[in-house]
């Protein structure tokens, strides 16, 4: 018992919940102190890729988008996304117009309407780095400029945008440097 108690003291800071809920007969103290996490938690917000709900979902549907499971989002929202994309950007005005990924309005919004972030476990993480596309999202990725290029840039958006003043917000980095190690995000202001 004594040794077990010592171990518990050492690890309580990182594993109190685990000990508490794996309660053996020796763990009665922790079991009594276990937080109550019972009950059902119901969804209010969700997010995969940046700026999807905010850009492509019409005002009256934003709450609904947040409580539609990803596997149902495409069927429910692709059409709305396509309508809003074409209203937003002249780069899709003509039949056959595509973006720098070679996607027309239907294909691009078909990709976006399912709002999940694809992450390639074995590749360098980037939203887009010139080679890798959507292998995750790094803190320093200029995701807004990538999205602006794909929305406004047209077929040659990466090198010669059809709407150059709309394809880059000219804010290219965060206002504080990120950390090289955990927790990676900069300290608060």
């Amino acid at each position: 018992m004594k040794n077990i108690h010592k171990i518990k003291v050492l690890t309580v800071a990182v594993a109190v919940s685990l000990f508490a809920f794996n309660c053996s007969n020796d763990d009665d103290d922790n079991m009594n102190n276990a937080p109550d996490f019972s009950g059902t938690y119901s969804q209010e917000d969700q997010m995969g890729r940046p700026a999807i709900n905010t850009v492509f979902v019409s005002a009256a549907s934003k709450d609904m988008f947040n409580v539609t499971i990803p596997s149902a989002q495409g069927a429910a929202f692709q059409s709305m996304f396509q309508t809003n994309l074409k209203a937003l950007s002249p780069a899709y005005a003509n039949p056959g117009d595509k973006n720098a990924l070679g996607l027309d309005a239907a294909a691009f919004t078909g990709l976006l309407a399912t709002d999940v972030l694809t992450v390639a476990l074995d590749k360098p993480t980037t939203f887009y780095d010139g080679t890798n596309v959507l292998t995750g999202r790094n803190l320093a990725d200029d995701v807004i400029t990538v999205e602006l290029i794909l929305i406004f840039g047209g077929e040659t958006g990466l090198t010669m945008s059809e709407n150059p003043t709309l394809s880059n917000d000219n804010v290219n980095a965060n206002d504080k440097p990120f950390l090289p190690s955990f927790p990676y995000l900069a300290s608060p202001w």
Binding site: P35, T40, Q46, V116, T118, V171, P188
Partner: protein, 218 residues
């Protein structure tokens, strides 16, 4: 809305009802500015490239003076979802929920049920707990079973000239973006939850996962 009022002079309130764009900040009427409002989601390889890092930020646009009183709500679950089979349905979740100044993490573990309603997987033997870092102190980090954990205020890592974009959409900036632009999120904070996980706990080598984050309230 309280948080928004602290960001004066950037026109957020004026344009928010017309057309809101940010990463996911104040994205929808039911959640904007509240304790369940997700502002951003990141997933990237860690410093140790055998690990993946998941970041959920909530409660955006916190001014420094508002940050010390910002709290994780104890009735709000933040849930990282991982689909490793390509059907956009979560196969694993990492759940984070606060209690008495600590953030508890459960998983990666298969959820009891997929979809809009969750129960906490507190019988999971995988996870950990970390003291929530108070504003103005060094980051408090804990590790357990190869995972690392953090919860607390951080600088908002998102950057964007949201004000100019809003002006463009409103039709009052026909010249487009400025060069250089102005980062609307400069000097603002968020509440962050960061968890680093060995890839082997997520999926097999070479897998491309689909991942997203949810907030759920009891």
């Amino acid at each position: 809305m309280k948080n928004l009022k602290t960001v004066i002079g950037i026109g957020v309130i004026a344009v928010a009802s017309f057309f809101v764009i940010a990463a996911d900040h104040i994205d929808a009427p039911a959640v904007k500015g509240g304790s369940s409002d997700i502002t951003d989601f990141y997933a990237f390889r860690g410093q140790n490239t055998d690990n993946m890092v998941f970041v959920a930020n909530i409660q955006g646009l916190l001014s420094p003076s508002a940050t010390s009183s910002a709290k994780f709500a104890e009735d709000v679950l933040i849930e990282f979802n991982i689909d490793n089979t390509g059907d956009n349905v979560e196969d694993l979740v990492i759940q984070a929920i606060s209690k008495n100044g600590k953030m508890y993490f459960f998983g990666p573990v298969a959820p009891a049920q997929t979809g809009l309603n969750s129960t906490i997987q507190y019988t999971s033997t995988i996870g950990g707990v970390v003291d929530i870092t108070p504003y103005g102190t060094n980051a408090k980090i804990s590790t357990n079973g190869g995972m690392s954990f953090f919860a607390g205020p951080r600088d908002d890592p998102f950057f964007f000239d949201f004000a100019q974009y809003s002006a463009i959409i409103a039709g009052t900036a026909t010249g487009g973006f400025n060069n250089p632009g102005a980062d609307t999120f400069a000097g603002t904070n968020v509440l962050s939850i960061v968890v680093e996980v060995p890839k082997s706990m997520i999926a097999g080598s070479g897998t491309t996962i689909n991942t997203w984050v949810e907030s759920k309230r009891k």
